[in-house]
Amino acid sequence: MADYREIISAYKEVPGGIIEAYHAVQKEYSYIPEDAVVYAAQVFDMPKAKAYGVATFYSYLQVGPRGKNVIRICESAPCHIAGADKVVAALEKELGIKMGETTPDGKFTLEFAECVGQCQATPVITINSQPYGDVTADKVAAILAEYK
């Protein structure tokens, strides 16, 4: 795995580049390590509180550990009426964890999301940003199998 220091430093000269740097770190680690926020504050020459404030403002960015594969379930109104709650129940059952939690082996994290822009096929989940549409409880096991 590339060191977050290298990843962040590559954006040093990009105006306003801290968010791009965070994206790049998260792409590699699947989250932003706390130490990476401190390091980003140095690189972009801002108080730690500010670097932390930026990282935590955005719901797509996660400071602190989470699973290797991040499963997000859209709960916006169109997905909600299409049965997102049934998909949530099936995912929780299949993985043995609740929403917001990570499996003990560190492989999967379950998170809620708002609309991910795939509303032609509600309900929708994404795994590491890859969308899956028209998800039903029956399909959950097969989808997860790709990542196990």
Binding site: G16, S59, Y60, C115, C119, Q120
Partner: protein
């Protein structure tokens, strides 16, 4: 039977988004050449005369906006394409960018020439990393062929904050800050990104530009509703037979969209409500379905065209449950900068939750109406101002659904 008309999606399925030659073969980049043969004021006047109004929701005349930036002397100006697309039920900008990215780039370059900017940004939502890839390839191909001239475009990724679709919050985000809206005025066309004059336009707005420059303002002005000419791309979601994307002239009615393109309500059920414009839009009952979709006709019935999302609900849907969910969205997405929104969205969600669970009393509905009307006036940005719209319009048109929850 109403018919589709494709201006924005003119190249949908006809060009290979990853091969710029297929775009130039259908006349791509001729509009930019034509624009550059005109003087900047003439070009801006042509866009203004076409009547094109922003497709991102606010409906401001595009040419007029460009004129503000053109009129400011500055050593640097910017063009930003708003591809944040966070409004639930909306995916039209994704469809445009995935299928015809060059149209958007060409539209941005025309704007750049018009106002005197040599730098553009596309702010694309973080949920679309695959679109970012397409855009970067498209930009590389256009630059390699020298088609963009000295206009340079960079893609920046949003990170899951709905409020960053608001143009001044978007600018803050590109600058590397928390995405909190700015106080206005000054407006971005005068003082925007890094304090410089900045035009922010929606993806669909930019995709219209090459066609307008190519065929002229008079052609465009003659299409659709007089006050909001052209077409609108709409995404149909919910309890409808065809969950799909369409592009229709703006004088098409809501009913035509639902029946002629949507194929009616799914499962042979009856219509109950449609929410147009995304999650911040108003709910519309059966009695208003013959309203045309254009901006002004929608405003006249207390609704919005917004992003053009159509979220359809059948007779079995629990309106209060849906509104409860929507109010949670706003409580979650409020950036917290101003009190009426930070507190108001939370209280609204609490009250709705109480109504949904049978714990409310008659006075609660009046209180929700009062809170909603205060928020729509007192909130700093459009998020807080529009947040009560779903509540207020359902209290107006579907009040029985609320009172039915009383114990």
């Amino acid at each position: 039977m109403a018919e589709e008309m494709r201006i924005v999606l003119r190249n949908y399925g006809k060009v290979d988004p990853l091969n710029i030659d297929s775009y130039t073969q259908v006349g791509g980049y001729q509009a930019l050449a034509k624009a550059k043969s005109m003087s900047q004021p003439d070009l801006i006047e042509e866009v203004k005369k076409s009547g094109l109004r922003g497709r991102g929701g606010a409906g401001f005349n595009t040419g007029m906006k460009w004129g503000f930036s053109y009129g400011v002397k500055a050593d640097q100006k910017y063009v930003i394409c708003n591809a944040d697309e966070g409004e639930p039920g909306t995916y039209k900008d994704r469809i445009i960018m995935e299928n015809d990215p060059q149209s958007v780039l060409e539209g941005m370059a025309i704007c750049g020439y018009a106002i005197g900017a040599n730098k553009g940004y596309i702010y694309c939502r973080g949920e679309y990393p695959y679109v970012v890839e397409i855009l970067n390839k498209a930009i590389a191909q256009a630059s390699e062929k020298g088609l963009l001239g000295d206009f340079n475009i960079e893609v920046r990724m949003g990170a899951g904050a709905y409020v960053c679709g608001e143009e001044s919050a978007l600018i803050e985000s590109i600058e590397g800050h928390r995405g909190e809206p700015r106080f206005k005025p000054p407006f971005p066309p005068v003082i925007g990104l890094w304090g410089k004059p900045t035009i922010v336009n929606n993806v669909e707005t930019f995709a219209n530009i090459p066609a307008i420059v190519d065929k002229g303002a008079d052609w465009y002005k003659g299409i659709g509703a007089a006050g909001y000419p052209g077409t609108k791309v709409m995404t149909l979601t919910g309890d409808i037979v065809n969950r799909t994307v369409i592009e229709v002239p703006t004088n098409t009615t809501i009913r035509q969209v639902l029946n002629d393109f949507g194929g009616g309500i799914a499962g042979g059920k009856k219509f109950k409500a449609v929410q147009i414009g995304g999650t911040s839009g108003g709910f519309i009952p059966e009695s208003l379905l013959d309203t045309p979709i254009d901006f002004d006709s929608m405003s006249a019935i207390g609704a919005t065209l917004g992003s053009g999302a159509f979220f359809v609900m059948d007779e079995t849907r629990d309106i209060v449950d849906v509104i409860d969910r929507i109010s949670k969205f706003f409580a979650h997405e409020s950036c917290g900068k101003c009190t009426p929104c930070r507190e108001g969205t939370q209280r609204m969600h609490e009250m709705l939750h109480r109504v949904k669970n049978g714990g409310a009393v008659a006075g609660d509905l009046d209180f929700m109406e009062r809170l909603g009307s205060v928020m729509s006036k007192a909130c700093l940005c459009g998020l807080g101002q529009a947040a009560p719209a779903p509540v207020l319009t359902t209290l107006k048109h579907f009040r029985n659904d609320y009172t039915a929850k009383f114990n």
